[in-house]
Structure formats: structure tokens, C-alpha cells
Amino acid sequence: MTDTQSGLLSSQHDWSSAAARKRVKRRYAADRRLQFYGIGAIALSILLLGVLFSSLMFTGYVAFYTTKVALEVPFAADQFDKDKLGDANYRGIAKTAFLTYFPEVTSRAEQRNLVKIMSSGAPYIIRDFVVANPDRIGSTVTIQVPVSDPFDQLYKGVIPRYIDALGQDRIALFEKLQRRNVIKIEGGKAFAATDIFVNPAEIPDGDITKADLHGMVREGFAAYYPKQTSRAYQEILAEDASTQVLRAKIEAEPGIVGKTVTLMLPLAPAYDELARTGASKIVNPRFGDKAEFVWFDKLISAGAISTPFTWELFTNADSRYPELAGLAGALSGSFFALLVCFLLSFPIGIATAVYLEEFAPKNKWTDLVEVNINNLAAVPSVVFGLLGLALFINTFGLPRSAPLVGGMVLALMTLPTIIVATRAALKGVPPSIREAALGVGASKHQVMLHHVIPLSLPGILTGTIIGLAQALGETAPLLLIGMNAFIPSIENMGLTQPAMALPTQIFSWADSPERGFVSRTSAAIMVLLGFLVIMNILAVYLRRKFERKW
């Protein structure tokens, strides 16, 4: 090594030089940066987990209580036929009982609107009560029935009474009109004073029914909005009412044809509200009109509204009405499917694992089996659904939508999990136990049945429970074999009856447009996650309790 080189080296390795310190500092900064990224990644994933759970709980907790109205139902004996208790006029009974809160509402049309506050399931609830308690006929009973979905959501504060109908840009445009003094308020209603040229060319043969009144109104109003003519016209004016004003004017004074006339044109509800109150709030279109709030408020102040726990979520079958929809059908479908899945996959899985681990010779055949099991674990679940549809349903003619087929498909998916867990558990049993048993004259099968399998049972059960938990959350294959049937009753449940499962119920509720189904879906997810948590805790408990270190 020459002097120059060693000199170069030594200057490079002068650890106290400013350059070297800077280098070291940079290196440690890079180290900290990496650490920071790691912490960031972990924090982000936990944050996302938190957001997931909190958004589910936030939207879902309201589904665990239901807004109910108490009905005083007088069961007059003459309303019922003893032999056909289910056939009485329960709709009428419910309606009469509900209307006793509103003696002042007498018009039929108003009554019809009013009854919409009550859930349309109310007659069935009363019917079920009568069928279950025929001895109460002749007395007056207080029955709690749910209110319909919009009012349920209103009482829970999920949807507002009024909504913002207009964006900022629309309001700005409208304020321009107000500044130009076009908007006038008369008799509690807002109007746009508009100059309209009653064009004789637009009234063929002087016949007003053929006239393009819309066009005239549009052209007249366009003077205020030279650029956004037609849309502004349609939005701000109450279109049909405006043309009627014009028509009435022409009919009353036929002489104005060919002249320009100033008309007070009524505004659309949102703009009407904006002009009068300065706010663009309108009644939430989920409710008919304001009167319904007033009625509902009356129920609240009468103390008729209560919010008990939603037992119906667990006892009711599916329904088109969110306030009535429950999980009972889905729970029973999932139960039957998991039962079939367990009955098939548990013995088959153990037998396969024991054979491969303890008896199988090492040859191409067993290699093929092992490769197959590994691949099955990685096949997308939807492909299993295709298999179930093509093979079980179309070839073997098993019933569609049935938990039997669902369970069979789920069993095929669960098998690899159980086999892997069982093999691991079998491997965990020390050879000394096998050898001791063989030594006292047990056959190979006896060693397995009497010693190895009982000793590895905790591990096998843990794996099985985890496999079943996965199967419980599996959705796609069940969708393909039709286990998303809408079943509004829980009377006819069985292995071969059409059914719904918990995850497919979640899917179908998530697809429903009614607002109440959002919280119902979240609640159903919480129930599903609850079951998964219980199963996993059970698995961990089994492992902790029975795990043996040899």
C-alpha cells in the first residue's frame, strides 16, 4: 500500500471531520426515517381498523333500538271469528287504534297520510298478538308497534326534517334576482314578477289549449338569465303553476294577445322558502309534507313514542320494510349451512390429515393429493360457487338456495384449513407416545385412535373452529348458489328449503335503498363480527387451555 493511498484513506476515515459527522448524521437520519415509516404504516393500519369499526358502530347502534308507538287496541269480541282468528280486519283495527290520537283529523285523505306514520307491519303484529293470546279478546290492550322507516330515522336523528335544497352558486344567482327586485312576496308566498310577451304566433288558431305556454314563460323569464335560460327557468319557477297563471290571464283577458304583460309567477318550493325565510331549507322529501311532522310531534308530546331494544332484529325474518326486518332467517340459514359444513369437513378433514400424515406412503399419488390440497386453499371463493352451481345444483339436481348445498360448498373450502391444522396437531404429538403404544402391542390404528388423535384433539378443534369462522363470513359462493333468497317468514326452515345466510343478508340489505337498511346492515355486521369474535375466542381458549408442551 502506497503512502498516498493510506493518506487518502486516513483522511476519509477521519471520523471527527465535519464531513464525516455530517455523513453519520445523515445515515442515522435515514435510519430514523425508516423507523418512522414503519410506525406510520402500523399506525395507519390500526387507524383504518378503528375507522372501520367506528363507522360501523356509529351507523349501526341506532338499529338496536326501534321507535315504537303505543296503540291502545280495544279487542271487541264481535270483530273476531273464533275459528279464524287470523282473518279479522287487523288493518282496520290498527288504523282505528292509531287514529284515536288524532280525533281532529277527519278527512279521509289526511287520515290515509297519517296512518303512514305507523309501520305497515302493525296489523300483523296485532294479529300475531291475538293469535297468541286469544283470551285477551274483549279487553283493551296496549301494543307497541314500530313507526315507519322515515319517522324511525327522524326520531333517531339520522335524517333531518329539512334539507338544504340549493348549492351556493344557485343561491348567488337567486340573490341577483332579488337585488333586481324581481322577487315579490305577497300573501306569504313568493313570486317572480316577469314580463311575458304573449306571442300570437305561438297560439295556433287562437286555441289556447294548443299554445306553447311553457315556451312563452321560458322566453319571458330568460330575460333575467340570458345564459342559463331553460335550466334556471325550470329550477326557479314552479313550472306548471306558472303556465297556469299565464293561461288564466289569457283566458280572462283575451285582448292581451300580442302584448307584453307582467305576471306574478309562483316559485319552486326550495326558492319560495329561500325568498321568504332567507334559508333554502325544504321539507325532506322522504316525508310527504310538514303536516306529518306536526302529527308526529303530537305523538311524541302525548308520550306515545318509546324506543325499546330491537328484539325483532333477532326474532323477525327478512322484510321489505327496514323497521320490521330481522336476522332470524339468516341466522337459521347460516346455522344449517355451518352444520352441514361441520358434519362433512370435520370427519373428512381429520381422515385425510391422519392418512397423509401417518399412513400414506410417500409416492406420486400422495404428492398429488398434497399439491391439490395446497391449491384448493388458494382457489378464489367465487370459483367454489361456480363448482357448486354447475355440479351440485345443475348436475346432481340438488335444490337451489338450500343450506345443504351452501354447507357442501363451504365444506370444500374449509377442508384445507382443517387438514393443515390437523396435520400440525398430529405432528405435535411426540414419537415417544407412539412408540410406547406400539411397544405394548397396539396396532397402528389403535395408536392413532387411542392415543394420538385424542392428544391432538385441541389443536384439531382450534383449526376447525377457525375454519368454520371463515366459512361463516364467506359470501360469494353462497350468492352464486342462490342463498340470497328473500324469505319473509321463518316458519319453513330446513336443510333443503330456500334460505338466506348472515353474510348474504348483509349483502342484500346493503343493496336496499331505504335509509333504515343502512343501520340494519351495520347492525347485522356487528352480529356477524360478534359471532366471529366468540368463535375465535373459543379457539384461543381451547389452545391455551389444552395446549401441551412435551
Binding site: R27, Y28, A30, D31, R32, R33, L34, Q35, Y37, G38, A41, I42, L44, S45, I46, L48, L52, L56, A351, T352, Y355, L356, A360, V369, N372, I373, N374, L376, V379, P380, S381, V382, V383, F384, G385, L386, L387, L389, A390, L391, N394, T395, G397, L412, K444, H445, G473, T475, A476, G482, N484, P503, I506, A510, T521, I525, L528, L529, L532, N536
Partner: protein, 459 residues
Amino acid sequence: MVVYLFLLLLAIASSGFLLGRFKARAAGVGQDVKMHSLDGYHGWFVAAWAGIPAVLLTLLWLLFQGPVIDWLLVGSLPANKVQAIDGGKLQLLVSQIKSVAAGNIFSQPEPFVVEAAERYNRWKDIASWSLFAVATVLALVGLLVARSRISPRFRARNGVETIMSGLMIACSVIAILTTLGIVVSLLYETLRFFDRVSVVEFFTGLNWEPQIPIREGQVTAGGAFGALPVFWGTMMIALIAMLVATPIGLFAAVYLTEYASARLRDVVKPLLEILAGIPTVVYGFFAVLTVAPAMRTFGEAIGLNIAPNSALAAGAVMGIMLIPFISSLSDDAINAVPQSLRDGSYGLGATKGETITKVLLPAALPGIMGGILLAVSRAIGETMIVVMAAGIIAALTLNPFEPVTTVTVQIVTLLIGDSEFDNPKTLAAFALGLVLFLATLVLNVIALRIVQKYREQYD
């Protein structure tokens, strides 16, 4: 009916067990020769011979009873009614006959349908009663034959163990049968699909509109089955998912293996595992409920128009699902790097960060790549998230803010509520399923190869 049959068979088998045991016990008393097997084994032997053949026969019978009766039914229909109609209508006719047979008569059916329904009910009765009789006789014969073989010298234990081994082998064959079932059923329906739609069209066409009903007599009806946009959408969503999952999962794994204390690891790892245990339908709802609206609002705030079912939302949520997958596989790969490599690097004065980026990650790269490939195969096979959060219309776009569709979405939408396998629409789902199956298979095989090859280096 079937349930009663199974109960009856169970009863016969249990009585076979008892009878066998009694006889063995009696045979052993007062003999000079000791019994070869314990009494219980004789019992099990008789029970197995009474139960297993009869149960197997019943299962096979039930599998083939439906198709055979259908076939007989079609054969017995008046020729002039059958000849004029094609396969699909024939199926419709058969199901009409069945619903009439079940007693659901909505409109007045034709007389030949009523006749066929009566015939169908009669045959079904005959079939189930003869199954009952045959299975019972078989069980009893099995019981008697097996029982007659009981003697002190009879090796009942060996017999039972042979039967058990046979059952175990039969069970292990189920895995192969399942794979075979998947391949055969997918291939069969796919070939039927390619009878109607050309292969080239399917793999290169740019126009995917399977929902449009194909009119009768329309010659170029295959025009709507170009699956490229569907494949493109699948890849795009998978790519977005991997862009989310890979950095987060990898950094988390690096931190957990190299920096974190054991206590932190014990807390964080189960938390990440929770993400893996959440059913995908929950992620789908999360995407629809929270992520997509949040993205939309955010996009509006910065002047972007993000569709409510954008590829970005579906991909991002799928990415969240894959984080624990990537992190645990990378974790394994990094942990598998021998300690000596770390020590050598520290000995040369490298910082922890330098050791990770310059030594550990390159050494663990094959394992990490394998993990990423497995995650990709998960991503393209994932169904519920995209069914709920991605689009249905196939679009060939590069813009992640627009909706795209995926293979799995198409499979589900094409098959929901449809079980008649006689139009290209439903068959297309099987063609897509086959592509999906093969793609995930290839990805998995490559990934496992990489991981295994890498392991051999250090062990």
C-alpha cells in the same frame, strides 16, 4: 323420507354392532382357542358391513335419481310436443311439469303436462320406495353375512382397520375430486360458451355487454363478449390494491421484525390479524358506506370528479384487506434471514436502517416477492368488495376515478338469479371463472416456487 332411511340404516348398523359383539362374546366362552380380536371389533366389523355399503348405495342413488327420472320423463313426452322445441324450452317444460307435480298450478296446464306430472309423481314414489327397500335389504344382508363370519379365529380387528384405511383414502381423494370437479365443470361450460362466441373475440374484443339480450336469428350475436375491458378493470383494481397494501404491509413488517419491542409486537400483530379475519362483505360495505363518499367529498373539495363506485375506492379498501397478508408473509421472509447476516452487517458498522435496506430486504426479496404474488392472486380473486364497491359496466379507462368492472363482479352479476345454462350470458361467467382459476393457479404456483427455492438457500 331420506332422513328416515338414514335413521333406519343407523339403527341397523347399531344393532349390527350389538349383535356382532354378543355373538363374539358367546363364541369366545368355553372355547380352547382365544378370540383373535376383541368383542368390540367384531361388533364394529358387522356394523361397518351393515352400514357402509347401504349408505354408499343410497348416496349414489340419490345423486342419479333426479337426472334419470328427468331423462325418462323427457322420453315419455308425446313426440309431437317435444320435437318442435329446443333445449331451453324443454327445460322450461320439465320444470313446469315438476311444479304441476308439486301441486303449484297457476294456470290451467295442457292435458299432456298433467299426465306427465302424474307419471313423474308415480316414478318418484316408485324410486324412493325401491331405494328404501333395496338399501334396507342390502344393510340386512351385509349384517347377516358379516355376522356369520364371526369365529374365534376371525381377524375382525384387521378387517375393521382395512375398512378404516379404505375410508381414509376415500376421504383424501376428495381433494383431488374437488379440483377435478372445478376443472371439468368450468371447462365443460366454457367449451359450450366458445361454441357460441369465438375465442379470439373473447380474449381480444373491446366490447363487453353481456346483459343485452341476444335476439333470435341475430347472426353476429357474439359481438358483446369481448372480455379485455373486464380483464383490464381487474388488473387496475388489483394494482391499486397492491399500491396501498405493499408499502404499508412491508414497512409494518420491517418495523415489527427489526425495531419493535416484543411487547409492542404482541399487541400489534393480533390487531393486524383482525384486519385479515374480517369477512370481505364487511369491507365491501365499508367501501360503500365510508370510503367512497369520503373520497367523493375530498375529490369535490380539490375539484376532481370521483365516481361513487370508482376503481380507487374499491382498490383502496381491497388494499386495506391485503395489508396483514403482505405484512405477515414479509415478516416470515425477513425472519427467515439468518442472524449471521445481521450480525455481519452490524459488525461492519452499518446502522439498523442500512442493514435492513442493504442486507435483509435483498436477502428476503424472493420471499417478499412470493408474498406479493400471493396477494395479487388474492386481489384478482376477491369478490365481495368489488361486487359492492366497483362498477358493472366494463370500461377501458386509465382513470382510477372512474368505475371499472372486474372478472369476479361479472361472474356474480351474470349468475345471480339465473340458473338456466343455455345462453351465452350465463356460460360467459364460467369462461371468466376458468380464466380466473387458471390465473390464480399460475400466480400461486410461481409464488410457491419462489418461496421454496429461496428457503433452500439458507436451510
